[in-house]
């Protein structure tokens, strides 16, 4: 089952079980994409990740860029040069690329340019629940939503066609339950034709005010043309018959359709599946609206479609009751239960019942938040940092960032006071440093996030003099999203050394330490505090060690014998420091409170040894730890 996406390149018929994101990637391939870029971010990462798998086979260019803006611009330039391109990002990533997004509508393109935004209703792995369909309204870039993985593939192909025809960028909006759902996808033929790159300079590509004013008028004309074309989009479709009309965009359609057909209601109501969100397919909406006594708009998050429909009906003087967000809450993703309840309430045609015996008392089920993996280089560092801060009662503000290390917010480390957005750690650090003079301001950021958006904030901190302690966790990878490369990942002899970069910015105090070596962290941290208090200077501590998942996988690949550690029960006193405060998931308490290391989970990293004041943690077999360093650095 390995590399299925790659194996399917030569298959051009039948169905495959693909992840929604793989379906989008497949659609791009069938449309003949030649350039694909992204900065990874859940739930979008597998789109470009899948294309990366086949780049060599199809001779297409696929890149993990340093951030979404750069990714967007690269793909955009390709589309200005007669190459079909795609760029994909998570919803908040589009904020980073928003400046480029707005301008791309003004320049237009010479070949297909498809922008994918993967939104995250219910915030499974994001800081907010923004509805990126709304970007379409300020950018004049049309937005479309599929209802399932199969349609995601077909719609992607269609958007490449539309973009090429109208010479305008198109946006595909996915959500977690589309991106991370596997479903049947009907395969077509992968396009293998390559086109010749060609850039013809035109005034519309130069957005000085005199040209932009002309572009603005052209843009509005193009928008009218798009509205026209979208009226005939076959993806917008009506099912059923009756006086009630349910309008369901994207994934909402799948929920509505399943409920309506399960209760045999297709003879009592119509369901309009909407795939083009903005602009709306006015013709079909008007045709269906005039036949209706009641319109129910079922959509996730914001009333994007609902508002447009209200405006349209008002303009056309169609007087039908429209129900929407007053019944369908804005917050969180839809579920079958929610949709069933909405249809029950609004139509009175069904009655639902749930058979759960509430008499049986559920025991307390503790939450299981994600944790640092066994062997994670961050654990000993946060363990030590928590110890120092608590013991010395340091008055700190710790400004965290987005990545695996966000998990140090949770007990037992409880180390981050703010986590807001990519690069926000050093950025907020600038502000805290300005107004909280008696605090130790600490910013914690990972390597990939630092390259993504941390550098300008650090420059600001030096140039405008906002001293802070910046801890850059360099695991040489964008680990959280699945180990995509970061500029700190060695690649064909290239690698950007963070210490060189920060020295270049003008940071005087730079420490490079191994986070497993807690003494060296302790020393660097104390020096950094001294620099801050006595000299009012910023220090950067770079904690470098590879992500344990990568190191471990490499060791397994090379057939390295790995010896787990164990706790000597004769020595262990059951103090719980290792399982409660160091908190490696491989260490658990026995009935007698003594610690036990689960050999299934232990990867033999040995970092827990420092957490035991009694030296009860030992390797199962003595081995040369240093010999494994090549896997860790």
């Amino acid at each position: 089952m390995d590399k299925i996406f790659r194996k399917l390149i030569d298959v051009s018929e039948g169905y495959a079980l693909l992840l929604g994101n793989e379906a989008v990637a497949r659609g791009a391939l069938e449309a003949g994409v030649e350039v694909a870029t992204a900065y990874p971010g859940t739930p979008s990462s597998e789109i470009i990740g899948s294309l990366m798998e086949v780049a060599d086979l199809l001779n297409i260019y696929v890149e993990w860029s340093v951030n979404e803006k750069v990714a967007f611009e690269l793909a955009w330039a390709a589309a200005l040069s007669n190459k079909k391109s795609i760029t994909a990002m998570k919803h908040v990533g589009l904020n980073v690329a928003a400046d480029a997004l707005m301008s791309s509508a003004y320049t237009g393109v010479s070949e297909s340019f498809v922008i994918v935004s993967a939104d995250d209703p219910s915030m499974w792995s994001s800081q907010n629940e923004q509805d990126n369909r709304l970007y379409s309204h300020i950018s004049y870039i049309p937005v479309f939503e599929p209802s399932d993985p199969g349609e995601a593939k077909d719609l992607t192909v269609k958007l490449f066609d539309l973009s090429s025809m109208i010479k305008h960028p198109m946006m595909l909006r996915m959500t977690t339950r589309l991106s991370h759902v596997r479903g049947p996808v009907r395969l077509g033929r992968v396009e293998r034709k390559t086109s010749k790159a060609l850039f013809r300079p035109e005034p519309r590509y130069v957005l000085v005010p005199s040209n932009a004013r002309v572009n603005r008028i052209d843009l509005l004309k193009r928008w009218e043309k798009i509205k026209d074309v979208i009226n005939d989009l076959e993806f917008n479709k009506v099912f059923g018959d009756g006086k009630i009309l349910i309008i369901a965009p994207g994934l909402a359609f799948s929920y509505v359709y399943e409920i309506v057909s399960k209760h045999d209601l297709l003879n009592k109501m119509r369901v309009l599946k909407l795939s083009s969100i903005n602009p709306l397919p006015e013709k079909i909406v008007i045709e269906e609206a005039v036949k209706s006594e009641k319109i129910i708009v079922v959509e996730e998050l914001e009333p994007v479609v609902e508002n447009e429909i209200r405006i349209l009906l008002n303009r056309e003087k169609i007087n039908v009751e429209v129900l929407g967000k007053n019944f369908v809450d804005r917050a969180y993703e839809l579920t079958l239960e929610r949709v069933e309840k909405i249809i029950e309430e609004l139509t009175g045609l069904i009655k639902i019942s749930v058979d759960i015996d509430k008499e049986i008392k559920k025991p307390y089920i503790p939450p299981r938040p994600p944790v640092f993996c066994p062997g994670c280089p961050y654990r000993p560092l946060f363990y030590e940092m928590r110890k120092i801060i608590s013991r010395e009662r340091l008055k700190t503000v710790i400004s965290g960032d987005i990545g695996c290390y966000s998990l140090s917010y949770y007990p037992p480390y409880k180390i981050q006071d703010t986590i807001v957005e990519m690069g926000g750690s050093i950025g907020l650090g600038n502000g805290f440093s300005t107004v909280l003079k008696d605090h130790v301001i600490i910013s914690v950021i990972g390597d990939s996030t630092f390259f993504h958006a941390g550098i300008p904030a650090l420059i600001n901190s030096i140039y405008n003099d906002h001293p802070q302690i910046v801890i850059i966790l360099d695991n040489m990878s964008t680990a959280m999203t699945g180990h995509q490369p970061s500029p700190s990942t060695p690649r064909d002899g290239r690698k950007i050394l963070i210490e060189d970069l920060v020295k270049g910015i003008g940071v005087k105090n730079v420490f490079v330490i191994d986070p497993f070596d807690v003494d060296s962290f302790n020393k660097a941290f104390h020096e950094a505090i001294k620099n801050l208090r006595e000299k009012h200077e910023t220090s950067v501590i770079i904690a470098r060690r590879k992500c344990a998942l990568i190191a471990y996988a490499d060791m397994i690949r090379d057939g390295v014998e790995i010896y787990p550690y164990y706790v000597d029960p004769e020595i262990c006193v059951g103090c719980g420091l290792c399982y409660n405060l160091f908190a490696c998931p491989a260490i658990t308490p026995l009935e007698n409170r003594k610690a036990f290391i689960d050999p299934e989970l232990c990867i033999g990293c040995g970092s827990c040894v420092v957490s035991c004041p009694y030296n009860a943690i030992k390797p199962l077999k003595p081995f040369d730890r240093k010999a494994l360093d090549k896997y860790w650095f």
């Binding site: 089952m1 307390y364 938040p369």
Partner: protein, 216 residues
């Protein structure tokens, strides 16, 4: 073949136990018989040792990705606490197949005892089967293959309930398992089948089958 209307399988466990692989295998098996399958996965943050739930939905009536509460026919759980957490997804006459493995959430002094969780699950779901998946996988030298054992037990159940024939699947499964350690994994898979069969032999699941198959 009987008309498969709707089959909902909820898969739970702790991130890293291989729920995604298990679910994908199940999906591929049904797809290879031309039966549509949808699998809603948990990615990103939840992978790091967090709580994981995967929704598998199979059949011609299925369109949406998430299983509603109280509508799953089968639960496969790789861990006891995570079985208890998501047990309300199961119908009261559903089948819970649970790996007898308790993973205490790190630094949670107040975690319930596994016996308490098991008796709760059993009081909710009378068709609860606890199997030594992790233990078997460790004994057979592939500690990470508890999920393969669970695939075996699920396939046995599907065969017993006449949803799919195991002879057909046995043939297919060999291609779906990774090459590395394939022989041992097949043995683990067979053990999962055998162990479950010994527990369900003689049982009758007709009431549950009725909710899975269409009338015609």
């Amino acid at each position: 073949m009987r008309d498969l209307k709707e089959l909902n399988i909820v898969v739970s466990g702790v991130g890293g136990q291989g729920q995604l692989f298990l679910s994908r295998i199940v999906g591929e098996i049904f797809m290879s018989r031309g039966i549509p399958a949808y699998i809603a996965e948990t990615h990103g943050l939840s992978q790091r040792g967090g709580s994981v739930i995967v929704h598998i939905r199979i059949g011609r009536s299925v369109r949406a990705p998430l299983i509603p509460m109280n509508r799953a026919h089968i639960m496969i759980s790789l861990e006891i606490l995570e079985a208890a957490r998501y047990i309300d997804y199961l119908m009261s006459n559903g089948v819970a197949i649970i790996n007898r493995k308790f993973i205490r959430p790190p630094s949670t002094p107040k975690a319930p005892h596994e016996d308490e969780l098991i008796s709760f699950i059993k009081s909710r779901i009378y068709r609860t089967y606890l199997l030594p998946a992790s233990k078997t996988a460790v004994e057979m030298g592939m500690p990470i293959s508890a999920n393969i054992y669970m695939i075996g037990s699920l396939i046995k159940l599907l065969d017993y309930m006449t949803i799919l024939s195991e002879t057909y699947i046995d043939h297919l499964i060999k291609d779906l398992l990774p090459e590395r350690g394939r022989d041992i994994n097949i043995k683990i898979y067979e053990r999962g089948k055998k162990d479950l069969y010994e527990m369900i032999y003689g049982e009758n699941f007709k009431d549950l089958e009725k909710t899975i198959f269409g009338e015609h």
